[in-house]
């Protein structure tokens, strides 16, 4: 368990992280969300023992990071932002080096190396120089070095940044495949990633914790949560739609002609809307129930505007 208490970090009077307090239990896959410069990376650097907090405490299973840095670092795997590696080494040399520093020796080292190389599919590039490999490979090597010692805690700073959709999928699969008693913390500003991988989301803005809950709770906060979007094959009388019971507001998108019906707080409007559509024989050719638009929620939370219409 990671316990963080009133964690703050200042750089020359600029406060990057401001009194963060949270705990993370084994089995949780936490997504750190936030705009650039919100303090995600700084928080991660403190969790890995790279930076010392200006104030506050980090402890893992009761051991304080300040006093037991080395012991705790043994248990943490970390992928820094942008996956910095030793570019002049070959992939195998690099992983061999990391395993050596991690204290793996002999048969054990060989077994772990074989395991991670297989797991992130690096067999084809083992003897290539890291410098000459693509970004996707670099991230995979970064991941390989982070899991080489089978850590209890995995901290990944923007693991999918700059990867193509296939590579993103691979990285997510890898994170999901880790065993369920580990702690995984990833930072990202891609919102779909949080719903795809994480079971807990934390939004950090201006160094403060603005939201802490499950990804679906995050979606619930969207005004689009349970809203219904309709598209008509030809122009029809839609005036009645706004009058349906439970519908709070109707918005027509002028470009696409899509009609979106927002429900009143906590109401489900699917049944009355379908009834209305079939009763008036409206020419609906697309019917979508929205699960919530995360980028709206994200913007709302991080820019501090409190207009939470329809929640």
């Amino acid at each position: 368990m990671i316990a963080v208490e009133k964690l703050s970090r200042r750089f020359n009077r600029i406060t990057a992280v401001d009194e963060l307090t949270f705990t993370i239990q084994p089995g949780e896959i936490v997504g750190f969300l936030g705009p650039n410069g919100a303090g995600k990376s700084t928080t991660m650097k403190m969790l890995t023992g790279f930076l010392t907090p200006t104030e506050g405490q980090i402890s893992i299973d009761g051991l304080s990071m300040e006093k037991h840095t080395k012991t705790l670092q043994q248990r943490i795997g970390y992928l820094p932002e942008g996956a910095p590696l030793y570019n002049d080494m070959t992939v195998f040399q690099f992983l061999h080096f990391i395993a050596g520093v991690r204290g793996l020796r002999g048969k054990q080292r060989k077994a772990r190396l074989t395991h991670v190389i297989k797991k992130v599919a690096l067999q084809g590039v083992l003897n290539r120089q890291i410098e000459k490999l693509s970004k996707g490979f670099r991230h995979r090597i970064g991941l390989a070095q982070a899991i080489i010692h089978d850590p209890d805690i995995l901290i990944l700073d923007e693991p999918t940044d700059g990867l193509d959709p296939n590579q993103k999928h691979e990285v997510r699969e890898l994170i999901r495949a880790l065993s369920s008693d580990k702690i995984v913390i990833i930072s990202t500003h891609i919102l779909e990633e949080v719903t795809a991988v994480c079971n807990r989301a934390m939004i950090i803005a201006n160094g403060k914790l603005c939201f802490d809950g499950t990804p679906s709770e995050l979606q619930h906060r969207s005004r689009y949560h349970q809203a219904i979007t309709l598209h008509f094959s030809y122009a029809a009388d839609i005036s009645g739609l706004a009058e349906i019971e439970g519908v709070d507001e109707m918005v027509v998108n002028r470009h696409t002609g899509d009609v979106t019906l927002f429900p009143e707080a906590g109401k489900l409007i699917m049944a009355p809307v379908t009834e209305h559509v079939s009763h008036y024989r409206l020419p609906v050719d697309k019917f979508t129930i929205e699960s919530g638009r995360l980028d709206d929620v994200f913007r709302e939370i991080t820019t501090g505007s409190t207009a939470e219409v329809g929640v």
């Binding site: 790279f50 670092q73 030793y86 002049d88 080096f97 204290g103 070095q145």
Partner: protein, 244 residues
């Protein structure tokens, strides 16, 4: 200590992956020969010793050691791999010592490659080999002092060029502080104690006796203290601001 050695091995390995390593060693050998034969009048002196070879070592190290050490930490900072290195379960001190060992080993290698000169002297005459061994040891110790200064400077910046220039300037101060030119400035107004203190900071003063084959405890101690002191300073600098 084991981890320091793993880091040292990596550094040495990295150094030799690029052609720069071989160019560096070649330059080292060419320069030692130039200094020995042209400036040192190796043949005309008519003596079977390596004094002309060793007496130029401080000036050689002045540029070559900062050149080898400039990338050590500056490059780690620039590429961000410092974050990777220092979140591995190694202490800052272990990392600093690891890098020091690596480069000191390379300098030992460069020195060892000048051995043919030693064989030549033995072929031409009957030198006192004890003196030569002592001078080699002294030279290597002094290169360690240059190295510790350069490594410490490299921890301060992301730029290799800045690391190089600042290291050369600092090393230069350590070299010339014992020379007559510098001491004359102080002699007119400062007390003898001050002048002696300034002179005793010089690498030259301490290396002079060593190059003649006298390995005095105070000279050895001086270089060891310089090495430890500057490495410790490097550890403190890294500890205080890991992210620049």
């Amino acid at each position: 200590m084991g981890r320091s050695l793993v880091i040292a091995r990596r550094e040495v390995g990295s150094f030799f992956t690029t052609p720069v390593a071989y160019v560096y060693l070649a330059i080292f050998l060419v320069l030692t020969s130039v200094f020995t034969f042209f400036l040192g009048d190796f043949y005309d002196r008519g003596q079977a010793d390596l004094l002309p070879f060793f007496s130029f070592h401080p000036w050689l190290y002045l540029f070559l050691v900062p050149a080898i050490a400039m990338r050590s930490w500056a490059e780690e900072r620039k590429s961000g791999s410092i974050e990777l290195l220092l979140t591995l379960p190694v202490s800052v001190a272990e990392a600093v010592i690891g890098k020091f060992i690596a480069y000191w080993f390379i300098l030992a290698l460069a020195l060892a490659m000048t051995m043919p000169l030693w064989f030549t002297v033995n072929y031409l005459g009957v030198p006192d080999n004890g003196i030569i061994i002592a001078a080699y040891t002294g030279s290597w110790l002094m290169s360690g002092a240059f190295l510790a200064v350069s490594l410490c400077v490299s921890t301060l910046t992301q730029s290799q060029v800045v690391a190089f220039i600042v290291a050369v300037v600092l090393c230069f101060l350590f070299v010339v502080s014992g020379s007559e030119i510098v001491l004359d400035v102080f002699k007119n107004w400062a007390t003898n104690d001050v002048v002696d203190t300034i002179a005793s900071f010089s690498f030259m003063t301490h290396f002079d006796a060593m190059s003649k084959g006298v390995l005095a405890a105070n000279d050895i101690l001086y270089f060891l203290l310089v090495i430890i002191g500057w490495l410790y300073a490097g550890v403190i600098i890294l500890d205080e601001n890991k992210a620049v």
